[in-house]
Symmetry: C2
Subunit: 120 residues, 2 copies
Amino acid sequence: MLINELSKRTGITAHTIRFYEKSGLIKGKRDERIKSNNYFHYDDETVEKLELISDAKSIGFTLSEIGQLMEAWYNNKITIPEKVLLLEEKLRSIDEKIKHLKEMKKMIAEFKKSVEEENC
Amino acid sequence: MLINELSKRTGITAHTIRFYEKSGLIKGKRDERIKSNNYFHYDDETVEKLELISDAKSIGFTLSEIGQLMEAWYNNKITIPEKVLLLEEKLRSIDEKIKHLKEMKKMIAEFKKSVEEENC
DNA sequence: AACAACATTAGAGTATAGTCTATACTTGTA
DNA sequence: TACAAGTATAGACTATACTCTAATGTTGTT
């Protein structure tokens, strides 16, 4: 598929997709048989990758962290123990984030209660 | 206390503290009695606020969201029902974040398992 | 008095993550 | 064939959140 369809399927603008391409997060392929243009062609894996990018971004991972994660996910240049290590690191960082969020939630909930009581 | 002590107490650089001051997140007071300088003086509440900023930032709130939160926390120009609404909104957004993190964690854990099994 | 340490402001610079514009070429449809 | 729609690239622009520098003045210590 071309960039426009990829954009429609993922909800990510063509501009941003090109930005991710330039950043090395995704890779379109050029069709050697077609000489009249040099349009990038994308496969379903790229759709998956863009979805992963969206998800990972929404939980606060930077693009460079997401890049590492996708190395482990899709790339075989990295050894299995290295993959496992990387994934464990990400799991730890997610646990940290969850811990912080829970603390913050408790803090806000307590404060909300005190505000409501003040109200009476 | 002056900016240097505030910085030492919070672990936030004086540069960043001044940036927060300019952004309206904290407010130092000038001592009217002292005419020779116009140094900002900070109280313990500012220490608290800076700690809140650090915490809220670590869980992915933007400075402008943190500003709103601190309006509710410290400011009485906002009515109690408004405060409660704002706090509820932040609680919801934290729950959303936690939900996303848990989904991501599950995904990564499953992938890690499959990588490890592949290893045998 | 000398001098280090600290304070202020203005403004420049950096990193991240886009977002948009201009230019130019290609493709598909009326 | 005209022309709208799609594609590529380079580069400018934006927003957020700092981070640093320069210029200048103040305070505290020897």
